[in-house]
Symmetry: C2
Subunit: 586 residues, 2 copies
């Protein structure tokens, strides 16, 4: 299997030149003292090193061996524990955690890049830390001071891990039907009883405790509340106490992600602690869920990058056929990189991945502004953008992740179907990213139904107006390309307004057209990011970097942006042909 090398120059370029991270950080009181470009660059270098040297080597062996469930214990693949210990010791789990509770306080804008590297190196391993960071975020946002002090330090340090316990067999996309019960105790805690399925990192041997965030219902209530339920009870001094009636029922056998423990969890009167207000559990859980949704988008992005590297290395190495029009070197056989169709596939993966990274960093930036800005207006606007972009990041990045893995596999020909090559694992591992943390259909409905039409297009209009204004300031990109993106933005607003006007008389319209709307938005936004990157690369010290961005941008505009038009046309066709079919005819 190929080594993994993080695209560090790309990452620094995005932070510094495209999104002006130093300016953002200098304006945020929590960041101004702790991070600048030098710090960020040093962290990126170190993350590259551990991703390449530590995490990537357990990727394939973990897939081959998988997680085992033996004698009530969940055992991760060989090497996972040793790697995890080093990873946790390096402070990576708490990279963006609150310094008051032991986190490193780094911006999410940087965190997304570190996450990308780790996911590129190994999808399955990286989930453990990602779930922990997400759970810590929810505890930080909604937990009592006591809970924060008792749990956050050991979560940020990676000594304990986190898990998100929502799904039950009868309650997946629709959580109304959950049956897990929470009965109040006299001491303010609750007795949690029930079963959860599909719990990523629900149990394992990497940490001595697992902190579950569990959705459950209070007696006589239809509302859903959120509880912190440790696998092992924690004493006031943070030492471990008794087992807490939290057991693993079984682990799932999956298509991929075999190093990640996906558990059925049983709660038998386990002691739990309310997070947030009673019956407001979904709101609190969404703090974690939104974090995970972005993380899962980044899983797709990391996969795309890994896929691109593997396929490109192969295409430079594999000799087969001669270039159309004659070998450039006069050889009797050329590397397959000379073939137009191979280039088409590689450039597709490359341009989608680079724009995807821009989306990821931009979303991280908005998260930082929403959390840390001391300007109320900036903070509120960033929150609206985070709301808008979270479902897009999750769905569009993970969909493109699968596309990338499949195209990269195709470059390998027959060798791509063989396990030893490693590329087929990427396809299997990344496939789940389109499904979990809310299927991409659910994301699209959240986007079009809640984030776009739910506030009468206010956030979308604001977002597009700002980016239109940016485009008008770009001086180093072609006017034709600008016009294309401006036109798409305008069409998106028109079609969104149309959906908004018709959503009451055509109640199925949003559900039926949401995926196409999200895709149209995604391809349009990537057009914007290609403009932004090309413009910012104009004065790059490395002239080949500038040239690269111009040529990649040309490819994106010539060959991929038109997908936005296709998806827009699909939204315009409405829902009639979809809904006008009796169920019996299926």
């Amino acid at each position: 299997m190929n080594p993994y090398n993080a695209p560090l120059a790309e990452m620094r370029f995005l932070l510094e030149k495209v999104f002006d991270a130093p300016k953002t950080w200098s304006e945020l009181p929590a960041m101004a003292e702790s991070v600048d470009m030098d710090t960020a660059a040093a962290i990126l270098d170190e993350a590259d090193k551990i991703s390449r040297e530590l995490i990537h080597p357990i990727n394939r062996s973990g897939d081959e061996q998988g997680v085992r469930h033996q004698a009530d214990k969940v055992i991760t693949p060989d090497g996972y524990k040793a790697v995890y210990d080093q990873y946790a010791e390096g402070g990576w789990v708490g990279l963006c955690g609150d310094p008051e509770h032991g986190g490193m306080g780094m911006p999410k804008m940087l965190g997304v890049l570190v996450d990308e590297m780790a996911y590129s190196a190994c999808n399955a391993f990286t989930l453990y830390g990602s779930l922990t960071a997400g759970a810590a975020l929810a505890i930080h946002a909604h937990g009592t001071e006591e809970l924060k002090q008792r749990y956050l330090p050991k979560m940020y340090s990676g000594e304990w891990s986190g898990a998100m316990d929502m799904t039950e067999p009868q309650a997946g996309s629709d959580l109304r039907g959950i049956r897990t019960k929470a009965v109040p105790n006299d001491n303010g805690s609750y007795n949690i009883t029930g079963s959860k399925i599909f719990i990523t990192g629900g149990d394992h041997d990497l940490t001595e405790n697992v902190i579950h965030l569990v959705l459950a219902k209070l007696p006589n209530s239809h509302g859903i509340s959120l509880f912190l339920v440790p696998k092992i009870k924690v004493n006031a001094d943070e030492s471990l106490g008794d087992a807490n009636g939290v057991t693993v029922g079984s682990i799932e056998h999956k298509m991929g992600l075999k190093g990640s423990a996906t558990c059925v969890m049983n709660y038998d009167g386990a002691e739990g602690y309310l997070i947030g207000r009673p019956n407001r559990g979904l709101v609190c859980m969404f703090t974690m869920m939104n974090y995970e949704r972005l993380a899962i988008g980044i899983q797709g992005l990391g996969t795309s990058q890994a896929a691109y590297q593997m396929a490109t290395d192969y295409a430079k190495d594999r000799v087969q056929g001669v270039a159309a029009g004659g070998s450039p070197t006069g050889a009797t056989s050329d590397p397959i990189l000379v073939h137009g169709d191979v280039r088409r596939m590689l450039l597709t993966v490359r341009t989608l991945t680079e724009a995807g990274r821009a989306l990821s960093v931009y979303t991280g930036q908005q998260l930082d502004l929403a959390k840390f800005s001391d300007d109320a207006e900036t903070k509120a606007k960033a929150s609206r953008y985070v709301g808008l972009l979270t479902p897009v990041s999750k769905a569009f990045l993970s969909d493109r992740g699968l596309d990338a893995a499949i195209m990269a596999q195709q470059v390998f020909g027959g060798h791509g179907y063989i396990r030893e090559t490693g590329i087929e694992q990427l396809v299997r591992d990344t496939r789940i990213a389109q499904i979990y943390e809310g299927t991409n259909g659910i994301q699209a409905i959240d986007f079009l139904g809640r984030k776009v039409t739910g506030d009468n297009l206010t956030a979308l209009k604001e977002f597009i107006a700002e980016h239109v204004s940016n485009i008008n300031q770009f001086e180093h990109v072609s006017t034709d390309d600008k016009i294309k993106v401006l036109s798409l933005f305008e069409q998106l607003l028109v079609i969104a307004a149309d959906v908004n006007e018709n959503k009451l008389t055509k109640p199925a319209l949003i559900n039926a057209c949401a995926v196409d709307f999200l895709d149209a938005f995604g391809y349009s936004l990537y057009g914007y990011f290609w403009l932004a990157m090309t413009n910012a690369a104009n004065d790059h010290v490395d002239s080949s970097f500038k040239q690269q961005k111009q040529k990649l941008s040309r490819f994106y505009f010539d060959k991929l942006l038109a997908k936005a038009d296709y998806h827009l046309s699909q939204v315009a066709m409405g829902d009639a042909a979809i809904m006008d079919m009796d169920e019996a005819l299926f």
Copy 2:
């Protein structure tokens, strides 16, 4: 796992109403006496039965257990041998074989439907028989009478299986580089020495002999010749003789298709018999290869159908959420089939599968006409159409097969990622169909470079003119839909002429744009088939059948046909953005 039920009404409808098979058969001397719609319907019924009751039950267990390589033997999964024996005894391997040598002499038009059912039931199992039938076809077309008499009866009967041995480590898409040698013996046979990789069904325990068709080079020749090389030598009386120096080196560990033995084969002075003329091996092999290319398209089609059935059953059964606008039954939760996005996915799979089946049957019909017509003009035209449609069937059906499996998996949500559900196996199994027998990129280049522009558009013009004429005769479809397909056909001709004019000055153009051209053709042709099916369903005795076709056709025209426009626009953008990037920048 869901049971498999063949779409028999659809299949009969295509044969009888859409493509008027009875008329075709009555006009072919080899068919007129042996097959009519009653015979065909009886064969379809029986094929449905064995696919459902015999083959499908070993699908998942075979995936779990896989093929093993122990002590120089390749052992298929439990149950394969017993099922294979019954399958062979039923005459299914020789269904379309020449009756003079023990085949059943059935038309390919029917054979494609039987193949589809078997692939729906189990991708991996079905390959064994498919390779045998393909090898028999090549022996029948190019072998000496002696070879035919000695090998065909036991291949048609399924007692011996066939394999296609082309690829070597250094020679995949580009076969010029093969190193396997064939040295003439005094008795007219050849000594074959070399190694082949990725040999499907190269060795296994289903049959007592495996008949390899091996590409090798004669001494001092750059040309490639084709040899029949049995695993065990065959005496003149068809009894088995000595082992023949054909051994299996190893078996591949693959993403899927785990019940299919993919072997490294070693030839150590094995006795082989020339098929066809020296140095003309590729031409002879293409008889087999073209057969397999259609078969692999049908693998994708069979997967699509199985995926549709599984996802639809799940969507009717799984209750989650309420229909937008309120539950149609007043329930608090509805089957997910009510949701627009779920319907969008199911209808996409359904409409592509039905049109794909039409493509498969139509291609089968052209194969029958090319082989059996006694009218020279009909025969020649059908041969041109077969040439045109073979790469399209292979690539477009297998690409849509993966799309279908992935969409169907998405309908299952989290359950779709779990092995027990069975849908993820379809994704893994069908992925290879886009790669083997020539990657889909190679198919597209064959289509645009050889079949379309290679004869200055003669075949394409003829094909489109005939179908334009058909469209003008359809009385029961909307004029708007007709106009859309007619316009696409016209645009295809224009763009193909443009590529043809520029192919010398832009040598990379065909390679770079071939996939988009094939996709544009595929979606346009499916538009044609939806017109043809809707038109033919107009007087169907079952009025719901007619209604179904009208509504499905509406969906296809509203929601999918526009993909043809997208791909056409990509061809029109040419190769500049693809080729204008230094190799160093990748």
